[in-house]
């Protein structure tokens, strides 16, 4: 039994090592003064300086953040409406249909989403750039936010809204004073998931971004295709730290709700969607 345990631990250690090695490899060489990703010559912070002085990169970073925040906010509002719409439907069949329609964009490969949105925007005469990127980010963030909000709506006891109505609350009051406060945690996690989807997206943006407008992942892609440049390493280190901060923040939001098992639950839609964005 003991030997078995040892083997188990070794296996897990290897899996974790492989998962994290490339990330730390990138970070390690971001300090290499040699300028390559293989021989470490000396410690330098030059590449960080380079990244921070690169105005183009900073503008792109701001673009990415603006798109992410704006699209997640809009997507969350639409998702709340969508969750209410799905919840309201009585017929089981209609509900399932609506849910399947909702999930189409989660299971579709990014390439198809990107290509079909490109056709859509071209036909609609929307110029490729900020607007098209924003619209597509809103579009693909809505379903995941709906999935995060819906369970909270389903858990809510219908007697609460009935009671509010009986006590004379208007429909609007029921929504703003009863329903929304109850599903608030879901709204937060929906917003958060939308945010990470948007920040992480590459393929869809790659299709619908025109000349002159770019987000961070598209920029990284075009730089990486030109070969190794350690400023990408420095950039990725910064992004990694930023990501960890986000995750810690999210973890604490979830902890406050007092439901430690959330991690697995929230992870599942992400896994279901599967498409690495």
């Amino acid at each position: 039994m003991k030997g078995k345990n040892k083997f188990a631990n070794v296996y897990l250690v290897i899996v974790f090592a492989v998962l994290y090695a490339p990330i730390f490899y990138l970070m390690y060489y971001s300090f290499n003064s040699g300028g390559t990703m293989h021989e470490f010559e000396g410690f330098t912070l030059d590449y960080y300086r380079e990244v921070l002085q690169d105005t183009r990169l900073i503008i792109i970073f701001i673009n990415t953040l603006v798109i992410a925040l704006l699209s997640s906010a809009i997507a969350t509002v639409i998702a709340v409406i969508g969750a209410l719409a799905i919840q309201r439907i009585r017929s089981r069949r209609a509900k399932n249909t609506l849910l399947s329609l909702n999930n189409v964009l989660i299971v579709s490969p990014d390439v198809i989403i990107g290509a079909s949105f490109l056709i859509l925007f071209t036909i609609a005469g929307i110029k490729l750039g900020f607007v098209s990127v924003l619209l597509s980010h809103v579009a693909f963030s809505v379903p995941i936010a709906v999935l995060m909000i819906l369970p909270h709506l389903q858990e809510m006891s219908p007697t609460l809204t009935d009671a509010a109505r009986d006590l004379g609350a208007t429909r609007r009051d029921v929504l703003t004073k009863v329903i929304l406060p109850i599903i608030k945690p879901g709204i937060f996690s929906g917003f958060f998931m939308a945010l990470t989807y948007s920040l992480d997206d590459f393929a869809v943006t790659f299709f619908v971004t025109g000349n002159g407008y770019s987000t961070l992942s598209v920029e990284i892609y075009s730089r990486a295709r030109q070969g190794v440049s350690l400023s990408i390493n420095a950039l990725s280190t910064l992004i990694f730290l930023f990501t960890i901060l986000l995750v810690i923040g999210y973890y604490f939001i979830n902890q406050r709700k007092g439901r430690p098992s959330r991690a697995a639950e929230t992870a599942e839609p992400a896994a279901e969607m599967g498409v690495p964005r």
């Binding site: 897990l12 490899y25 998702a79 409406i81 719409a85 790659f206 973890y251």
Partner: protein
Amino acid sequence: MTNKGRSFYMLPYYLWIALFVIAPVLLVIYYSLFDLDGNLSLDNYVNFFTPVYLQMTLSSFWYAFLITLFSLLVAYPAAYLLTRTKHKQLWLLLIILPTWINLLLKAYAFIGIFGTFGPVNNFFDLLGIGEQQILFTGFSFVFVSVYIFIPFMILPIFSALEDLNLSLVDAARDLGASGWTTFRRVIFPLTISGVRSGCMAVFIPALSLFMITRLIAGNRVITLGTAIEQHFLVTQDWGMGSTVAVFLIAIMALFMLLFGGARKGVR
């Protein structure tokens, strides 16, 4: 009256479904019916059944199959062992964490690791094998893809294993089943739903990857995803690109029907 007032504010959501879910699919199908000169024809579909495209589809499937298989082989034991650890939520979080890092950056890291002077080649040198061309081969493509997909495979299997009633395993052992038999006859069948959703989460994206293909495999591996990207953004042949997309959508729908239906049956 009340009903009308209620439906009114639902409008944005239904509008979203109409514009971004239904319309794009219809548009892709519509575009697939036009050739390069804008004439209505079935040429694209005829083209798709020429050896060039069929072979591409086949190799795309083969790679997606390999990626799914290896992800499963690595992920199942990992998920199983994870359920047996203390602090499993923390470990799970550590599995999830890398998925939050942009996959382009992870792919980029492998450009360095698999490069001619990278650590892997250094290691080969040490063993006396000598330098090998690792980057821009089918192997590196499969390896990097498996690396990227493993967390997506571990998560559903992990939650299926968590739902498993442990007394069933004990019962099997008490009744004299060996460890392997217990796994084969009890544990694996009961967690098949997790395996299935894991495979779904890996296989379909693996069919349509294009950025990893471009960065890691050069032009060695052409998947359906790269073909679509090529047609839309490089050769501007939207008709053919849409045709490939239509096939990808059809394959996807088929898989969802097959496996989605089966999943309901099991539950």
